[in-house]
Amino acid sequence: MTVINKKPNNPIENLTPEDVEQIGIELDAIRQDVLDSRGEKDAAYIRRVVGVQRKLELGSRAVLLVSILPPAWVLGTAGLSVAKILENMEIGHNVMHGQWDWMRDPKIHSTTWEWDNASTAEAWKHSHNEVHHTYTNIVGKDNDLGYGIMRVDEDQKWHPMYLAQPLWNFLNACFFEYGIAAYDLELGKNLRIPKEKRSEVFKRNTKSTLAKIRKQASKDYVVNPLLALPTGSLLPTLAANVTANLVRNLWTHSVIMCGHFPEGVETFERKSIDPNETRGDWYVRQMLGSANISGSKGMHLMTGNLSHQIEHHLFPDLPSSRYAEVAPRVKAIFARYDLNYHEASLPAQVYSAWHKVVRLSLPNGFLATTTVKNAPEQAKLLWAMSTKGSKVRRAAQARLQQQARKLEVAKAA
């Protein structure tokens, strides 16, 4: 993939400014309809989800008190995993977006919510709500595109260190909550700044994040296991908490990857974005920069309705429970303007996203030109490109791209 304005068949090229404005008007109308009908049923929904989540988490933790018994361990661990996922996705993420602020209930409000995650609500709201949702998929501005450590776009120059990117991505998935915390602190950028020059804000945020991590870790890995000690279930409970956090991390990472990373989701170039971007322009960027996951009601719930990533990005502050209902209307707008409504099943999107991670970890054109037969030569080439300096790399890169283009032309013919 390439940033959208460098593509040969740029999908927004066919849109006139009037079209873009009209799209904005139509999407605003959908938004207004939801605002007008928002009410008691929505409030009852989120309260029910919060109630179920709390009972599930408490019930699971109670069962884990006797997790020395294998069935109890399985049941408790499964319940805790689901509870943590619900807490992070359908509840935490959406509450912190302010989707339920209209209820004016201080217990379910973006300004008071704290979630079961390493990152503090404060830091997460800044990097997610302000940065990611404003600069969605703008290369260089939206760090969600690879958390600043990955090669997410063909236009980013390839370097041998990117070969490790699938491994990093996997590790990031396993420890995702800490990945998010580091990302929310902009740890990479800040650690490069000499210690005495780091901003007060960074120091303060780091302190509160560390305090939060300490509390979170003591809950999962000390207090709850100790409570299970009397039945001899300390270690099983510890293992259950580790497992539940791992499951939650892998799941949330997969869902997040599916939202913006699958092949075919557009990215944007910083300089191609008009500083006076209109509401319509912004909407179009959100439309093309997100991907949906199709599936059952249960799957939508477990993804916190981020399976409706497109609708979420268009209307980040509407109640998540309404995305499914507006999706057909949104889809119709895509169809009318001949835009690609990116939607596929969970396995397909996860595969696609991982495929892209692997593909971009290799030089451009490498994967496309590799077959079983030429694999040994290709491996040799890669070795040379990784070890022999930038001159060799440049030459080999040019050759690879040329071959890939030829293949494409042949395929098209």
Binding site: G39, E40, A43, W102, M103, P106, K107, W115, V223, N224
Partner: protein, 378 residues
């Protein structure tokens, strides 16, 4: 450092009780939730919880009014008849706070009651009268208010009420006459209503009158015409000849209370009133407001004639509030910079960083409107 300070310091910090220690463990086990969040799922009315109530009964009074009986949480501290309670009601999913007088003395069943008159277009009153059902929860604050009878109760009382203004007074009456030895006070109640059909507690009051416990004077606008308090032939003095010997308590619409205040002041009589709404200057609508910024970064464009409380709530900011009419101080926040106008009298309150109190100038957001850009620490 002397060694004998050490035992001293350890003694000065009392050892946590078992309850406190348990709570500490529990809270470490459920972070980032609070223990209370978890307990709320199971027992929202327990002691230690934020004060709430469960509606146990809704009894229609007239076509447009109803009495709501509420079982308050364990921490309800009781009240004196005549006082009011602030309640938070979820209307169409949104929590709105209003104030209602308590219409009983302390009850044997531990419940409290309010009587609400549905105002045309009234968001909360319409909801409470026509759409609430037993079992629903609402948020409560402790009772407040100074509209209470002095102790001991004086020998002669005059109570003047109009419309839903009967609510604090019925609480007083019910309390006086529910005692084993009913009070020996001589009470005259002038109860003004638009019509007989609209008169809340009409039959109960007539029964009290028939028993000789009170002297009930009913005035209906459709039968008697509007009550002109100061009128020499049909006014208050004509209705209650021994007016000057009585201590007066009055609750009703602004017009009636304003007339009573003037009337009593001219006669040098003492008067205690309860108002349900602030008297707002009529001509403030055209004044320009300004952007109001809050410490959390939210920015609200507020009209010059609208209380900052209403403007901020409508924009999604969580605001503290209470009576919403300038009497309880439940909405007070520090103004750090800028000017606000008191909607009741037009008075300006100004905060200038470096000149006024560094902690901010306290303002009541429910009766203050922005008069230009201002910033509030909240």
């Amino acid at each position: 450092m002397s060694t004998d300070t050490l035992p001293g310091t350890s003694r000065s910090r009392p050892r946590p009780t078992l309850r406190e220690s348990l709570r500490r463990v529990a809270s470490a086990a459920v972070t980032p939730l609070e223990v209370d969040d978890v307990l709320d799922v199971f027992h929202p009315l327990r002691s230690g919880a934020a004060l709430r109530g469960r509606i146990v009964d809704v009894q229609p009074e007239t076509d447009e009014s109803a009495t709501i009986v509420i079982k308050p949480g364990r921490d309800w501290a009781g009240h004196v008849p005549g006082q009011y309670v602030r309640i938070g009601v979820d209307v169409d999913g949104t929590r709105l706070w209003r104030t209602y007088s308590l219409t009983h003395g302390p009850r044997a069943d531990g419940c409290i009651s309010l009587t609400v008159k549905a105002i045309p277009g009234g968001v909360v009153s319409q909801h409470l009268v026509h759409r609430t059902r037993p079992g629903q929860m609402l948020q409560l604050e402790q009772a407040e208010g100074a509209f209470v009878l002095p102790q001991p109760v004086p020998d002669k009382l005059l109570l003047v009420t109009a419309g839903s203004g009967i609510t604090p007074v019925i609480g007083m009456l019910r309390n006086l006459f529910s005692r084993a030895t009913p009070a020996a006070t001589d009470i005259v109640l002038v109860h003004v209503n638009a019509s007989e059909a609209a008169a809340i507690f009409r039959d109960e009051l007539r029964a009290l009158g028939a028993d000789g416990r009170i002297t009930l004077i009913e005035r209906y606008d459709d039968q008697h015409g509007l009550l002109d308090v100061a009128h020499p032939e049909s006014g208050l003095a004509a209705l209650v000849p021994d007016l000057d010997q009585r201590l007066t308590y009055a609750c009703g619409p602004a017009g009636l209370l304003d007339a009573l205040e003037q009337h009593h002041a001219e006669r040098g009589l003492q008067l205690t009133t309860e108002r349900f709404r602030p008297v707002v200057l009529a001509d403030l609508g055209g004044l320009s407001g300004g952007p109001v910024s809050f410490a959390d970064g939210s920015l609200v464009e507020a009209d010059g004639g609208v209380p900052i409380l209403d403007a901020a709530e409508a924009a999604g900011v969580l605001m503290p509030s209470g009576c919403r009419m300038g009497i309880c101080m439940g909405c007070v926040l520090p103004l750090m910079d800028g000017a606000v106008r008191d909607l009741r009298n037009g008075a300006l309150t100004v905060a200038v960083p470096g000149e006024t109190d560094p902690a901010g100038v306290p303002i009541q957001t429910c009766i203050s409107a922005a008069a230009g850009a201002c910033s509030i620490n909240h």
